[in-house]
């Protein structure tokens, strides 16, 4: 009995420990490597700031266009589907595809590949010249070997080619903005 209890305790401790250890490498500010990424359109620079708090992952987008800055955060939950108001996607701003002024999107997310990949899926409403449409979005945030690079692969149900954004991690004391 004691042995069984010990095993149970060990398993219950190991699971969160291993998850936390893997996930912690995502935490921090990641700067877009524009040379090695799909071209931003309309935006000139981007940082991702990832913050993990238990099952919640806050994905903050620090976007810049000239001197204009936009900060938008999607907070997902890797245990359950959540409803997010005005889900932010990295728009191609030279396309007449607009987010509605108010929207709710159901967003699911999951850790994959021994917690080295975060998958996020949702469907968002968009406004176009013909009225309203929807766009299914699929994201994978993949931690690179060495844990200092991050690759974001983005798929749209309406786009036959992926958008691939590559980031490098900034030192923890570097809070500079893009």
């Amino acid at each position: 009995m004691k042995a069984l209890l010990f095993i149970c305790l060990a398993v219950s401790l190991l699971v969160p420990l291993s998850t936390t250890a893997a996930n912690s490498n995502f935490d921090g500010r990641w700067r877009l490597d524009t040379e090695r990424s799909s071209a931003l359109d309309g935006w000139t620079a981007m940082d991702l700031i990832l913050k993990i708090d238990g099952d919640k992952v806050a994905i903050e987008h620090d976007m810049r266009w000239r001197t204009t800055r936009v900060l938008e955060t999607n907070t997902v939950n890797t245990r359950k589907t959540v409803s997010i108001s005005n889900f932010f996607r990295i728009e191609q701003r030279h396309m007449a595809v607009y987010p509605p002024k108010k929207s709710k999107s159901k967003v699911s997310s999951k850790w994959l590949d021994d917690d080295r990949t975060l998958r996020v899926e949702t469907t968002v409403p968009v406004e176009i010249s013909q009225g309203k449409a929807t766009m299914r979005l699929y994201y994978e945030y993949r931690l690179g070997v060495g844990n200092d690079t991050l690759t974001l692969i983005e798929l749209h149900s309406t786009r036959n080619t992926p958008l691939v954004y590559r980031f490098r991690k900034l030192p923890s004391d570097d809070n500079s903005r893009p």
């Binding site: 359109d41 013909q130 749209h156 036959n160």
Partner: protein, 548 residues
């Protein structure tokens, strides 16, 4: 007739034959200089500024001096237009090799020189103002020996006058000294590049026309400068034109254009548009008449198919960018003509017209008889300005008006749409157009009245965007707008080239047809698959404007 009288008569015939043209015609003999691309203030800019000021004086009463810029200069047409002058106007140009030679030839048009302070770049603008008023050429300290060698005397010296002063203080002083003497129908916003590089290539025109030069900000954060800027705009005559361009880094194009539009004035850029002092002496060649490449009659109706109709437009002034790039003519393309060139650069318009291919189609704009933001034009000025635009469009045989209003946007952040009352005013002002197009980047103002659509751009092609991404973007728009026919209006920014767009079009998915803009509008009139929309009060606003 005595010998003296004979001599005077003969002399006047000989001199008149060389210097003065046939009445009403520009001189057949002129000079040309070739500039390099060095506009560094510590390099080639001061000599260019001196020569451009000399050009403004030399060309004041006659077309004498033309300047050719390198092919990579923003205005790429100076060499083709030079060829046009030779070929169509019979101008015999002699090449000038040096500033020294230019001074020898044209110093008689200057009464002296004014020295600007190279440690304070903006004093060049004050010097340009003085140059126009006092017939001076603009020099730096280093150039004084050269101009004095040619016998020119100092008229003014700005060295030290403005040391330690802000732009507000400098221009307040300049306004106090010179503004009352300057042209009130035209003013020169000599902004654009600032600091280590300055490109005052339009200064010849400002000097010729005795304009006030400045680079005052339109950014409300710089309230003192805005106050001075507004004083100048208020003092201008009704319907005046602001030449030049807003100062980079001080304010934005959106702020600057919004401010001048709110006074009902017109903008004509850019600060580096060269040779207006020369071009303005010419008319269209005898018998020339604009005939646009129309593909539909004004009252024609077209029936669309279940297709994606695409139309390409370039609007960043026809003189820069795509026109001279490879491949023009391979796709139907609409070109927004700088309509005011009818008045002060007709040869350039004639050059574009004669070099147009059957696939090139000209349209009016931008928003009116100059660049302006219509949401901000005073209501009492709107019909007057649009009548002016209509007259220009009639001369240019144009049936489409292009509109743009980025007043509350910062490039692609913030709405660029038109209020419903603005749309009402356009439909009322232009009963004879086949339609309107709107935007610069994408926009979302759509309407259809009396078989005349108002269409906005669904896509803007950044010249730096990889072509495979452009293709993917367009394919995604086609996938999203799945109710055919889909009308996909594309704005092609300057310095794209048409060849690359041919490749893009080849890789589009679906039943795609690229059509000329007039056919596009007629198809869009016949089957309205787009939703009527105007600017909404709660649309995102980046720039909140001014408190008047």
């Amino acid at each position: 007739m005595n010998r003296v009288t004979k001599f005077l008569l003969l002399s006047s015939v000989i001199i008149g034959g060389f210097i003065s043209p046939t009445f009403g015609q520009p001189a057949k003999d002129a000079w040309v200089m070739r500039f390099d691309g060095d506009w560094n203030t510590a390099g080639g800019m001061p000599e260019k500024a001196m020569l451009i000021s000399l050009q403004g004086l030399a060309n004041r009463d006659e077309a004498r001096l033309y300047i050719i810029h390198p092919h990579d200069f923003q205005w790429e047409i100076t060499e083709p237009l030079y060829d046009f002058y030779k070929r169509k106007h019979g101008i015999r140009f002699k090449e000038i090799e040096s500033a020294d030679q230019a001074l020898s030839l044209f110093k008689r048009y200057a009464k002296g020189y004014v020295v600007w302070d190279t440690t304070i770049g903006t004093t060049s603008n004050v010097a340009f103002t003085i140059a126009g008023l006092e017939d001076a050429i603009v020099v730096t300290e280093d150039q004084i020996p050269l101009v004095e060698k040619h016998g020119l005397k100092p008229i003014d010296d700005l060295r030290g006058r403005y040391t330690g002063q802000t732009h507000t203080e400098i221009y307040a002083d300049a306004i106090e000294r010179y503004w009352d003497l300057c042209n009130r129908d035209k003013i020169m916003l000599m902004g654009g590049h600032r600091g280590r590089t300055m490109q005052p290539a339009m200064a010849d025109w400002g000097i010729r026309e005795k304009m006030f030069f400045h680079e005052l900000s339109a950014d409300p954060e710089e309230a003192d400068e805005v106050a001075l800027n507004r004083k100048l705009l208020e003092d201008l005559n009704v319907g005046a034109t602001i030449f030049g361009w807003h100062p980079y880094g001080k304010d934005t194009e959106e702020q600057s254009t919004m401010l001048l539009s709110s006074y009902g004035h017109k903008m004509e850029g850019l600060h580096n548009l060269p040779n207006l002092s020369y071009n303005d002496h010419f008319e269209f060649t005898e018998g020339f008449k604009f005939t646009n490449n129309h593909h539909v009659d004004l009252d024609e109706k077209l029936v669309s198919e279940k297709k994606v109709y695409i139309s390409f437009v370039q609007s960043d002034s026809i003189g820069i960018g795509v026109w001279t790039k490879p491949g023009r003519g391979k796709l139907p393309f609409a070109w927004q003509v700088t309509m005011n060139w009818t008045k002060f650069s007709p040869a350039a318009l004639e050059y574009f017209h004669e070099s147009a291919t059957p696939n090139d189609y000209f349209i009016g704009g931008l928003s009116g008889p100059g660049y302006m933001y219509p949401n901000n034009i005073p209501k009492d000025r709107f019909p007057i300005l649009m009548n002016e635009a209509k007259e220009l469009m009639a001369i240019l045989d144009e049936h489409v008006m292009e509109i743009m209003d980025n007043s509350v946007a910062d490039g692609n952040v913030g709405t660029v749409d038109l209020w419903e009352e603005t749309i009402d005013a356009y439909y009322e002002a232009f009963p004879d157009v086949i339609g309107f197009i709107n935007g610069y980047g994408p926009a979302r103002t759509w309407d259809l009245r009396d078989n005349r659509p108002m269409m906005s751009y669904d896509y803007y092609i950044d010249p730096k965007r990889p072509r495979e991404e452009v293709t993917a973007d367009l394919n995604e728009l086609i996938a999203l707008n799945s109710n055919l026919p889909y009308f996909l209006l594309v704005h092609v920014r300057e310095s794209n080239d048409v060849n690359s767009l041919v490749t893009v079009v080849e890789n589009l998915e679906g039943p795609v047809e690229v059509v000329p803009l007039d056919r596009f509008l007629k198809y869009a009139a016949g089957n309205k698959t787009y939703k009527t929309r105007y600017r909404q009060p709660d649309d995102p606003v980046h720039f909140k404007g001014y408190e008047f």
